[in-house]
Amino acid sequence: MAYSDKVLDHYENPRNVGTLDKNDPTVGTGMVGAPACGDVMKLQIKVNEAGVIEDAKFKTYGCGSAIASSSLVTEWIKGKTLDQVMEIKNSDIAEELALPPVKIHCSVLAEDAIRAAVADLKAKQGNTQEAA
């Protein structure tokens, strides 16, 4: 399979690989996909008091396109607010990386990972606010 240069670049030099403390109340964790389907993405975001994502980390088990899609979104979401990142569409990711049709599901998964991380963070913060 021929990969675009952008996919190869993210695959060879993935950005923001790593793990944030999932128990930190300012960290949201999204884990999507399943090993049997061939891809699992874990995306973590850390927000500051202004509600802006100041750090993002990922780990992905998956093909080159899945790794590239998750690496790309960590770059895109840093410095954005939660509302802004919810506007990122899988088609934006697919277009940026020039994903072929059989790899569109990788971009869908990356979009799902953003939503899952945001949902996790909101659930956590909702709980803290209620407790306070």
Partner: protein
């Protein structure tokens, strides 16, 4: 010594034509271009002589009579001719066929085609080590079974089936026994005078011969009959019409002659390289060998690397030419049906690599491969959330995944 990449470790897919073979072939394209079927002039006689010499060489490697060798275009055609030809010829006796789930597609799809025209088939599952259980095989045979087909050496995992035991059962019950030996020539000893096999398929290009040529062994005593699948000028005693490809046949003959003379030495050298590769790769955590290690050709090593995904693995190891258990180019990810038949999980089937070693593999190439695998598996696991969970002690089989 420097290593040139990509390193070829896919000898089970195909082998380079041995230079000695290529050299022998060339005059039969230019000077000795005659049609072996031309009986009326020396051009034909020269070609016919070369074809018959090659037939003898092929027969010698497997201890058969040259008159039992029929030229075909390759093992796929041999398998089709054997399976469809025998099943159709003997269909008056019954319409049931037994084969194994891990056979090559050329066998499985030929049997499927027979199912479409009214035959019944049993696809027997192998044991988790890839070998066929003799008693399960016996139990799968029925009074109306006319044909059984079992490969000698598996193309993906290199396991060697006990053809003698399986053939004896078929003999007892009067069932035609076909064996696909495409991956076996030059790797294991084949003695068709002793083996209870009726039909055996061969390929040249897996044994350092050219592509596009193969042969089918058709036993004479007791005589096995086939319905021809290719009709025409009545070549090969009517079993396979079509002008003989003299240069290809000469190449196959020479390749099989070299295999006969050199296989003992060559296999010992290849076994040392394979064991070196295995020892090196086993220094990596969470690796699983697929297929039995004892009843196996020395050329093959099929290993699954847990917690890395198959396609990214293939991308990572582009410096070596190997085959993967994952068919990633298709829209639906389809793991190797051979590994699935052994009961491997989808994940392990996807993350498998078949290393196949051959005549021109060097120790330096093996060492390069070990180092490459260690570094790339390390890098991919660094990226893998599954590896992280594994290190944290999470049982991945108990996780509820958000399937999509």
């Amino acid at each position: 010594m420097t290593v040139h990449t990509p390193i070829y470790l896919d000898y089970s897919a195909t082998t380079p034509t041995d230079p000695r073979v290529a050299e022998k072939m060339i005059p039969f394209l230019t000077e000795h271009f005659g049609n072996p079927a031309s009986r009326s002039h020396p051009f034909g006689w020269t070609a016919e002589k070369a074809v018959e010499n090659a037939r003898e060489e092929v027969a010698k490697l497997v201890n058969a009579d040259p008159r039992e060798i029929v030229w075909t275009s390759g093992a796929t055609e041999s398998n089709n001719l054997a399976i469809k030809g025998a099943a159709n010829f003997y269909s008056g006796k019954g319409k049931h066929i037994v084969t194994i789930q891990t056979e090559h597609k050329a066998v499985l799809d030929a049997v499927r085609e027979l199912e479409r025209v009214g035959f019944e088939a049993t696809y027997l599952a192998p044991e988790p080590n890839g070998l066929v259980d003799i008693e399960k095989f016996r139990a799968a045979l029925r009074p109306d079974t006319v044909l059984a087909s079992v490969m000698l050496v598996n193309n993906e995992i290199g396991v060697v089936q006990d053809i003698e035991a399986l053939g004896n059962i078929c003999r007892e019950q009067g069932i035609i026994f076909h064996v696909d030996a495409a991956q076996a020539t030059g790797k294991v000893n084949i003695d068709l005078e002793k083996l209870p096999v009726d039909l055996m398929s061969f390929s040249a290009h897996k044994t350092y011969g050219p592509k596009g040529i193969g042969a089918l062994y058709v036993r004479r005593k007791p005589r096995v009959r086939l319905e021809a699948q290719m009709h025409g000028g009545g070549h090969e005693r009517g079993l396979r019409s079509g002008t003989l490809a003299t240069h290809q046949i000469v190449g196959m003959g020479e390749a099989f002659r070299i295999a006969r003379e050199e296989m003992d030495l060559e296999n010992a050298r290849i076994r040392r390289l394979r064991d070196r590769l295995l020892t090196g790769l086993q220094e990596i955590d969470e690796v699983y060998v697929n297929g039995d290690m004892k009843q196996r050709v020395p050329h093959n090593l099929n290993i699954s690397f847990n917690f890395v995904e198959g396609e990214s693995l293939i991308m990572a190891v582009k410096d070596i030419a190997v085959s993967s258990g994952s068919a990633c180019t298709s829209a639906s990810l389809e793991p190797s049906y051979v590994l699935r038949a052994l009961g491997r999980s989808d994940e392990l089937a996807h993350s498998s690599i078949r290393f196949s070693i051959g005549r021109f593999t060097t120790e330096e190439e093996i060492d390069y491969t070990i180092n490459l695998m260690k570094s790339k598996i390390g890098k991919l696991r660094e990226l893998s959330p599954l590896w992280e969970m594994h290190l944290e002690g999470v049982d991945l089989s108990k996780v509820e995944w958000a399937a999509h």
